[in-house]
């Protein structure tokens, strides 16, 4: 299982509001059955196998381009662990237990 986080940023949009582009990127995931996604205040968390994650990254990045958007900066952080299964929820749980 691979957990990743992606943030897409359109450059040259005339206004500082970019939520419509983030929505478009998430909508681009709609048909992809092999990815689970979760919105955060700073990006979108993706869970799936590595190939599915990279395919989601490609689709989200490409979805942001359009007539008025000719440049996109996408940041991705991929965390893959092969010794055992661990979801994003498991990771948070594990930190919480140590904090308690």
């Amino acid at each position: 299982m691979t957990i990743a986080e992606i943030s897409v940023v359109p450059i040259g949009t005339a206004t500082p509001s970019v939520s419509q582009y983030v929505a478009r990127a998430i909508a681009a995931l709609g048909q992809q059955k092999d990815i689970k996604y979760t919105l955060t205040g700073m990006g979108t968390i993706l869970e799936g196998d590595l190939a599915a994650v990279l395919e989601a990254v490609r689709k989200m990045h490409e979805s942001v381009f359009g007539d008025r958007v000719q440049r996109v900066v996408t940041t991705v952080r991929i965390d893959e662990r092969r010794d055992r299964e661990s979801s994003a929820a498991d990771k948070m749980q594990s930190v919480m237990e140590k904090l308690a």
Copy 2:
């Protein structure tokens, strides 16, 4: 208001489990009143003014070092908007509305 996301990664830990170091970094924030933080599956979201965010980054990064951890890689993404107030929750709400 500045919204940021931070991820701390200790290098050379002998095991792939790093949740204890993440917990330590979050505990390091405990006394800082000018920061609001939220745990995600890929990091910690920080909300406050820029100086408070950078002070939190410094403390979280430094907290990971110890006898057995001599190298730390910290990734930070800072999103600051000055035309209007916008929290992490507002940003998510705004994307959700466009998706609906």
Copy 3:
């Protein structure tokens, strides 16, 4: 043309030195003709089309796993511009001219 930067970090390596894993990731690019790469002090810059960049990311990330490495954190930043061709060297040149 897409310009990207990738950094691969093995977790659980027992020592803070990770250059052998970075070397392995770069070696994994060796056969890929559609990517130009440049080493920096903080990662590797990749230039090619988006599909080639994502294929390079996949290979570099996977190359770091091994008997003693069961977790890998890979960070990628992708900067794609479609209004005109611009290489990493062009981007640096453009900044230098503004500084002069």
Copy 4:
């Protein structure tokens, strides 16, 4: 010694060209004696102690704001090693030797 990489991105600039803002951010470093910086095709590498790096991050990030830029997204990756001195040039050298 801390090695970091920073990338500043203005949001809402009307055009995809942002080199003038990158130049402004680098110019903001001009007076800071305790930082060494190097431009790459994807950002700026900073070398100094942690406090100096964070001060440079603050100045670079703030320098991008202006009448026409009301939102800035800054990405920073910090790599600090305390077991021995290692510059960005040393890190590259070490990878090169393994590749040879």
